[in-house]
């Protein structure tokens, strides 16, 4: 967006006091965090006894954990500048498989989970293969694979919902909680920490970002682009599988039509996340933060009992506003950054 560069390079910052600048810096890196806290405070005050109740927080964390894993799933290939549009259908397949293998094939849930994860890795590998070997545009390759997966889950279920009434307690407890903390949320947290370490602290993981910024330079720096991109897609596949395993335990049934609706929210979260923590690139912290913001603000609006269509308006509004704010903050930050070190 060269027009952007131009505009950013226009205008000059008048010298500004140090603490003000620190503030701007903070706002730029942690803008989403600030918004999140504001959301909590505002709705917390408006609905004191229900909004911040343990059950509400627990429920939100549980139901959002699936979206969170999928947002991380789309984030991984995004670091290399690739799209994965198959996540929606993939989580759907994983979910029906997970429930189906137990209900129809009478497999123990751990075995089913292992199979689902294996399938997930395979699907990711196929995506990666199409993108790296056949050089197919990731957007369309993963869209095609998504459609294939949707066909598979409909073939497996014949389009019918699989009843989960006999699902073992052990499996259902995946959606339960420990000391009142929803287990799914804990999983997401662990996954997040691991991914963060890989992407921020381990060179092999950081190479994904280099590929994203300049694939050719990355290649010429000895980074095996093909392998790295494959790895990104495989991790994406595994995350989808994990999300599907969770989703099955949350819904307690296998529905073939479930899944696609996760796609856009997942992308929204990881792209919104790219405006914070590590502005300018998709990152784990920002992604999870965005999930929380969207979920909690949405829940707040619902609890205010506004007309149903207000939810959509609000949903759209918060996306645009949040991004606009952090884009603005990032621009200010850059100014002060250059400014500060110029003295």
């Amino acid at each position: 967006m060269s027009s952007q560069d131009i505009v950013e390079k226009r205008g000059t910052a008048a010298p500004q006091p140090k603490q003000r600048q620190v503030l701007v810096n903070f706002a730029a890196n942690y803008g989403l965090a600030v918004i999140f806290v504001l959301v909590l405070i505002v709705f917390g005050l408006m609905r004191p006894d229900t909004y911040l109740s343990r059950s509400n927080i627990g429920n939100l964390l549980t139901s959002q954990s699936v979206t969170a894993l999928l947002a991380l799933a789309v984030m991984m290939p995004l670091t290399t500048g690739r799209f994965d549009l198959s996540v929606g259908y993939h989580v759907g397949l994983a979910q029906v498989l997970m429930v189906g293998l137990q209900a129809n094939q009478q497999l123990p849930w751990v075995v089913s989970a292992i199979i689902v994860l294996a399938v997930g890795a395979a699907v990711g590998a196929i995506n990666g293969f199409l993108v790296t070997r056949f050089k197919i545009d990731s957007f369309i390759a993963t869209m095609g694979v998504g459609s294939l997966l949707y066909g598979l889950s409909n073939w497996y279920t014949q389009g019918m919902q699989i009843s989960g009434l006999q699902l073992p307690a052990g499996y259902l407890s995946v959606a339960g909680d420990i000391f009142g903390i929803p287990f799914p949320a804990i999983i997401v947290l662990l996954v997040g920490i691991i991914l963060w370490i890989v992407l921020e602290r381990i060179p092999a993981g950081r190479s994904l970002y280099f590929i994203g910024f300049n694939p050719r330079a990355a290649e010429l720096s000895g980074i095996n682009v093909g392998r790295a991109v494959n790895a990104a897609f495989i991790s994406s596949g595994l995350l989808c599988a994990l999300a599907g395993i969770m989703l099955g335990a949350i819904l307690r049934s296998g529905t073939p039509s479930v899944g696609p609706e996760y796609l856009l929210p997942a992308f929204a979260a990881s792209l919104l996340g790219a405006t914070s923590i590590r502005p300018g690139r998709v990152n784990v912290g920002g992604t999870l933060l965005s999930i929380l913001i969207l979920a909690f603000s949405f829940s707040g609006v619902q609890q205010l009992g506004a007309a149903f269509y207000v939810e959509y308006l609000f949903n759209g509004g918060i996306l645009v506003v949040a991004v606009a704010l952090s884009v603005y903050a990032a621009a200010r930050r850059r100014k002060s950054a250059v400014h500060s070190s110029a003295h």
């Binding site: 059950s55 389009g159 919902q161 009434l165 073939p256 609706e261 829940s299």
Partner: protein, 365 residues
């Protein structure tokens, strides 16, 4: 002594295996008549005093049936001075789940939902555990309590009757010679049951031919239906009847048939649900010739009544509104002027009598 735990389920409705043309004609005659007399409860629990808070978790506030049932809940609550909040499930299993969780979190006096309960077991169980009765409207396949899914009551027409009515109309009109296709979305148990009810008599009718089920996941109806029609016309010719679980397929089906230059006299569609589009198509004779509508606001009243029973710890009423059949002839009756099915039995008045312990005369009101 509010009771949230459901009573035992009722016996599942039975599907009649076959219908003679005469049986069919009499069923049609019966169900196209105005539904003037009140078959519901005339006595029962009075509403508890005080403002109760009800939450209606709609499966999708962008789809007319769910909206109408919500309207019914609101109208009924107005009689009692209760407060109703509507949460939107936004048509997707997961957003429905979130809406239901919100409902539980707000801890209302009761929850009424039109969303598929089998994917909401977690939060519904939470609600019941917290002593909040959950009443379904079309949330499960069959009418009555559903202990498995923790529904105190499930308000719906008798799906067997709906199927039977569709089959009867086809048999009667075709003099037992119809070739029939059934359109459904397999993913819903109730749709599969309706399908069985609508097609069994056809399969057992000597002169008829059952051409098969067409599964159309609702999410992809726009993309799928044109090619489905293309396949049907190619393999089954230009003379058949269509029945369905879901009237929302028919605008697309009609559009495809129109674009294929099929005469509306050759292919006839019988629907169920009865959204405005169905009334349109029937009035215009645009392929759809009849539909079996769901009552719009009545379900809301029935749901509130179930809630009141629950609050008294009593078993919900066994009342099920008989099915109705809309054809071009009676399209303007029983709420038809407003493109919805509102039986003219003054149910609101009757329920008000029970709930508020009044004794108004409802016959003429």
């Amino acid at each position: 002594a509010t009771q949230a735990k459901p009573f035992p389920a009722w016996a599942a409705p039975t599907i009649d295996k076959s219908l003679t043309t005469d049986q069919a004609s009499s069923i049609v005659a019966e169900r196209t008549k105005p539904q003037t007399d009140w078959l519901g409860p005339t006595s029962g629990e009075q509403a508890p005093k005080g403002v109760k808070h009800i939450i209606y978790v709609s499966a999708d506030q962008s789809y007319v049936s769910f909206v109408n049932w919500g309207r019914g809940v609101v109208e009924a609550a107005k009689i009692l001075g209760w407060q109703v909040d509507i949460l939107n499930g936004r048509g997707a299993v997961t957003s429905t789940l979130q809406a239901m969780q919100q409902a539980v979190a707000v801890h209302p006096d009761a929850i009424i939902t039109s969303a598929d309960a089998s994917a909401l077991q977690g939060p519904i169980a939470q609600a019941v555990a917290a002593g909040i009765p959950v009443v379904g409207i079309h949330a499960a396949a069959f009418p009555g309590p559903d202990p498995e899914l923790n529904l105190y009551d499930n308000i719906t027409s008798n799906p067997a009757e709906i199927g039977e009515t569709q089959a009867a109309y086809v048999l009667a009109e075709s003099k037992g010679t119809a070739q029939v296709v059934h359109f459904l979305d397999n993913s819903f148990a109730i749709a599969r049951f309706k399908a069985e009810a609508a097609t069994t008599p056809i399969q057992n009718c000597a002169g008829c031919k059952f051409l098969g089920m067409q599964n159309i996941p609702i999410a992809d109806q726009t993309q799928r239906i044109p090619t489905v029609i293309s396949g049907l016309l190619a393999n089954d010719g230009h003379h058949w009847w269509g029945t369905t679980c879901c009237d929302n397929f028919y605008p697309y089906v009609a559009a495809a048939l129109r674009a294929s230059n099929i005469a509306p006299t050759d292919i006839k569609l019988v629907g169920s649900d009865g959204p405005p589009s169905a009334y349109d198509l029937i009035r215009k004779g645009d392929y759809e010739v009849a539909t079996v509508p769901e009552p719009s606001t009545l379900f809301g009243f029935q749901a509130i009544d179930a809630v009141i029973q629950a609050m008294a710890g009593k078993e919900p009423s066994h009342f099920i509104q008989p099915t109705y059949l809309v054809t071009k002839a009676n399209a303007d009756q029983e709420g038809g002027k407003k493109d919805e099915f509102i039986p003219s039995n003054h149910f609101a008045c009757h329920y008000q009598n029970i709930w508020l312990g009044e004794t108004k005369d409802c016959s003429g009101s």
